[in-house]
């Protein structure tokens, strides 16, 4: 069996395992082992990919395998990876692994929780390995729907409202996406021949421009909803604030990346002409996202809201970069996805852990926590610094690629947009430091907090996994960025 398919099979086996075991403790262990193996497999794939490339393999996609599914519609289960998907897979594996440990102490309905969580992960993995639009879409929805249950059952606050809103908005996005996919499918053979959902095959032809004009917005907005495209981002603050820790981690960490990934792998890649025609509309929207999210974050009081708005801003940056349609910016987009995935997961993990101790997420009810929970505090500062784009941490690498890529466009429109986007790094600094200052620094606000315990081993494991990723990308980005740049080549060739 193709190693990529294991990425889907292992989670399913893990779920089966969870169904078979008896108590909560075993559930945890099975989940951890399953996702540990998944992590290993993901990295094996990364190394396989690298060695394949080293050995001179220049195929657009490697490790491909394909078998027929719905023959008459020419639907295949086709998997394959390039550098971008490999990177996303590694990210997902890391975040899921961290997520399992971040929810180590989940109490209510533990089995169900882990099953839903891993099901979500299955969808995400499947999405990233799919080369067939049908299976891609299928996995996309598989990834979205467990969110409802996860937030609804284990969430907090107005969880039912948030869960419903999130699910409906995301599914609304996927509904639009579906129409877009139909448009692509039925225009995938303009010169006769068989219609196909296969991305690689569609990329070889040019979809008629009239069709592109119709279906590019559907596809892009469809994915954009998940990528928190203004003004369709409002599920994000509510959803994230209500979701339990691991779910926020996975959702902001990897699920939102499906939007960005899809936006360029499908919308931009297959319909580049319409994309370049309409890019300006979406550039305006994403620029608004970037700045607006950041400004929105400044005045929030709930930690999760801050981070949710911050995600709007950062994910807006991803789409912004994708729309710039050049290699540098797109490299930045991918790195930004990974970077944001790691750091936002880190943020949400930390917020969950802090909440678990203080039972509040309101920053003005906390203060001086650095003294009592230094490990969490330092991790929070690291996440914050990554978020505001400090060199040496992942966010910087991504942002620089994005800004320089965006600036390659010589016209005023793109440049003004870029400079507006750049201003977000200052605003980001403002809200990050504001939170750090209020939450962690200063005198201890409440005497209850003096006796709080610092991170437990599983929490540390979860956090360190994520921090390791952030620091690795931040310090030695060359390997990652080269993998991505090289994989972007066919995409760029197609787009230009």
């Amino acid at each position: 069996m193709n190693i990529l398919s294991w990425l889907v099979i292992i989670p399913l086996l893990t779920i089966t395992g969870i169904l078979l075991v008896k108590d909560a403790r075993q559930t945890k262990i099975v989940s951890a082992i399953g996702m540990g193996i998944q992590l290993i497999v993901a990295f094996v794939i990364v190394f396989m990919y690298i060695s394949l490339r080293k050995s001179g393999n220049t195929d657009e996609m490697v490790l491909m395998s394909s078998f027929e599914w719905f023959k008459s519609l020419n639907i295949y289960y086709t998997v394959g990876v390039d550098g971008i998907s490999v990177a996303m897979i590694a990210l997902t594996a890391v975040v899921v692994f961290a997520g399992i440990f971040a929810s180590w102490e989940m109490e209510d309905l533990k089995k169900e929780f882990f099953i839903s969580l891993i099901l979500l992960a299955t969808g995400v993995f499947g999405f990233f390995i799919s080369l067939d639009l049908f299976t891609m879409f299928l996995f996309y929805e598989v990834a979205v729907i467990p969110m409802y249950i996860l937030i609804g059952i284990w969430g907090s606050g107005p969880k039912e409202y948030s869960a419903m809103k999130l699910t409906l908005m995301l599914m609304g996005g996927s509904a639009l996406l579906m129409v877009g996919l139909f448009g692509i499918y039925f225009n995938s053979a303009p010169d006769g021949g068989e219609l196909t959902f296969n991305i690689l095959e569609i990329s070889k032809i040019t979809i008629p421009i009239e069709a592109q004009r119709w279906f590019f917005p559907f596809t892009f907005v469809g994915f954009g909803v998940l990528g928190a495209l203004f003004p369709l981002h409002t599920w994000s603050p509510d959803g994230h604030s209500s979701a339990p820790t691991a779910v926020s981690m996975l959702h902001a960490g990897v699920l939102m990346k499906l939007g960005g990934y899809g936006a360029f792998r499908v919308a931009m890649f297959l319909m580049p002409e319409a994309a370049s025609e309409m890019a300006w509309i979406f550039i305006i929207l994403t620029t608004i996202s970037v700045v607006y999210g950041a400004f929105g974050a400044i005045v929030q009081k709930d930690l999760k809201y801050i981070n949710a708005y911050s995600s709007v801003s950062h994910c807006g940056m991803v789409l912004f970069a994708v729309l710039m349609m050049n290699r540098t910016a797109m490299t930045g987009a991918v790195i930004q996805m990974i970077s944001h995935g790691l750091m936002t997961a880190l943020f949400f993990a930390l917020i969950g852990m802090i909440y678990g101790r203080t039972h509040t997420r309101m920053i003005n009810e906390m203060g001086g926590l650095m003294k009592v929970i230094p490990f969490l505090g330092v991790a929070y500062v690291i996440a914050g610094l990554a978020s505001l784009g400090l060199p040496g941490l992942s966010g910087f690498v991504a942002e620089m690629n994005i800004f320089f890529g965006a600036f390659e466009h010589p016209d005023t429109f793109h440049r003004v947009a870029t400079i507006i986007a750049i201003s977000s790094i200052v605003i980001t600094a403002v809200y990050i430091l504001r939170v750090v200052a209020i939450l962690l620094l200063g005198p201890i606000r409440d005497n209850h907090y003096i006796s709080l315990g610092d991170a437990k081993w599983y929490e540390k494991l979860s956090l360190l996994t994520l921090i390791a990723g952030i620091v690795y990308i931040g310090i030695a980005p060359l390997g990652l960025s080269n993998i991505i740049r090289e994989s972007l080549l066919p995409i760029i060739d197609k787009i230009l």
Binding site: E68, W69, F70, K71, S72, L73, I75, F134, F137, L138, F139, E141, V142, I145, Y148, I149, G152, I153, K159, E160, A163, M164, T167, L168, M171, G172, A175, L176, M178, V179, F182, G183, Y185, F186, W214
Partner: protein, 473 residues
């Protein structure tokens, strides 16, 4: 015409035999053994269903009034499977004391409607079609009124029978116009002589209204909710899947075979009706509290989705209609199965009663959740595949606006399906439905449905098989 040629109508014959067998068995069963009839009948029907899969002859009988093809056999088999599940699900309910002395009636009425549907599907002439449709409808009214001592059941019965006669009157009036223009009632001849004149269009619309009643399309749907709510749960499930499925089958056959000439017209009619059906069905379903009524409106919306397969007049459309019907049978029967089990044990039918169900009855909750996801079209369960392909079928002919409206409607649909999931999984309840054990037949019924929901989607072979048996205009 030799005796072997009657084997062409094997499905109907076998059903008739079963019908007679049950009738006779009832006569010869003693008062104390009446209960046994249900076992016999279910077993018998299982055999009938299995027999349906034996290689079947194709051809036509009675000078073309009756036609059997691979397509019709497939449709009949699908209906058989659905009916079998309904019977299995009814098993426990039939054991109730007030039903004891008329168990056989249930089976007889049900099987006769099925015979009617089979004839309807196999008809090659409007007379056969009319007889089939009446045979499929009139006993249903009796079934709807089966709970003699329930006001609601009686009300359901009268509403069904009166609207149904009205609709058949209208349908026939339409047919008479078509007859007036073409001078024939044989499908091929009508198709050949049909022209796009106003009288034909008027006739078609009258005919459409009659079929719209059977499929409960808006605005001919208003009986649906009341009848579904009033009728016994198992009858409702039969009504909502088998009766509706059969109507969809014959409707698509007639559209494709008889009315291709005026396809430009019926595309538009269907476009309008589909939008109305999906939207109105969804809007009503939003506010329902009674599970049966809720499922009624949901099934109205689902009927609208069927129309997406009709509209293109393409082979893919027919394929997906049949495929989706199968999936819909499993999904809806799973939903009704759970509702029936709970109604059986506790007498509760309201959504609020389901609060916190997962904590007490996880199995039922998961089944219902899968059913809801399947109806909503959420992967990886089968409903996703069915809906996706229906949309593909409509998109193939360029009905993108319709598809867009439909997909946006799926969001509303998702909302109310999730309300059920929410009730079971998320809502807390002071007094949840107590934990109970379902009996074997209930479990069996649900298990078949779950297997269907899970497997049908992935089974591409099934889809291909259906496609091979389908045709377009």
């Amino acid at each position: 015409m030799n005796p072997e040629s009657f084997m062409i109508m094997r499905h109907e014959l076998v059903l008739t035999l079963a019908f007679v067998f049950i009738l006779v068995a009832e006569v010869f069963t003693g008062e104390r053994n009446k209960e046994k009839i249900k076992s016999i009948a279910v077993a018998l029907f299982a055999i009938v269903t299995a027999a349906g899969f034996l290689p079947a002859a194709t051809g036509s009988l009675f000078g073309g009034m009756y036609e059997a093809s691979g397509t019709t056999t497939l449709m009949k088999n699908i209906l058989n499977i659905g009916t079998l599940i309904v019977l299995i699900q009814s098993y426990t309910w039939l054991g109730r004391p007030e039903n004891r002395d008329r168990i056989h009636e249930y089976f007889l009425l049900l099987i006769s409607t099925l015979i009617g549907m089979n004839f309807m599907i196999s008809s090659g002439h409007f007379l056969m079609f009319y007889l089939g449709i009446e045979l499929a409808t009139i006993p249903l009214a009796a079934l709807a009124a089966y709970d003699r001592y329930q006001n609601r059941s009686a009300e359901a019965g009268i509403k069904l029978i009166l609207i149904s006669t009205l609709s058949s009157g209208i349908l026939l009036f339409g047919l008479s116009m078509i007859y007036g223009v073409t001078g024939s009632l044989y499908f091929p001849e009508v198709a050949a002589k049909l022209t796009s004149v106003p009288l034909v269009i008027m006739g078609f619309i009258f005919f459409f209204a009659g079929m719209g009643f059977k499929m409960s399309l808006v605005p001919f749907h208003l009986w649906t909710a009341d009848v579904y709510e009033g009728a016994p749960v198992n009858v409702t499930s039969y009504l909502s899947v088998i009766s509706k499925g059969a109507a969809a089958f014959i409707f698509i056959i007639i559209l494709f075979r008889v009315f291709p000439v005026i396809s430009m017209t019926w595309e538009k009619v269907i476009w309008v009706i589909a939008v109305m059906t999906i939207t109105i069905g969804n809007l009503f379903a939003l506010r329902q509290k009674n599970m049966k009524r809720f499922l009624a409106f949901s099934s109205i919306a689902q009927a609208g989705f069927f129309l997406l397969g009709f509209i293109g007049g393409n082979r893919l459309g027919m394929t997906t209609v049949i495929y989706y019907a199968l999936i819909y049978i499993f999904s809806n029967l799973a939903a009704f199965g759970v509702v029936s089990v709970i109604a059986e044990k506790t007498g509760k039918e309201n959504m609020d009663d389901y609060d916190g169900l997962y904590r007490t009855n996880p199995g039922l909750s998961i089944t219902l959740m899968l059913a809801m996801f399947s109806l909503a079209g959420i992967p990886p369960v089968a409903g996703f595949f069915g809906k996706f392909f229906l949309f593909v079928a409509a998109a193939e002919k360029g009905f993108y606006v319709l598809v867009t409206i439909a997909v946006l409607n799926t969001i509303i649909a998702l909302y109310y399906y999730l309300l059920v999931v929410k009730a079971m999984f998320i809502n807390k309840s002071e007094a949840p439905i107590a934990s109970f054990r379902s009996d074997f037949m209930q479990k069996l019924g649900l298990a078949i449905c779950i297997a269907g929901i899970v497997v049908t989607g992935f089974a591409s072979g099934l889809f291909e098989m259906i496609r091979n048996l389908s045709y377009g205009i």
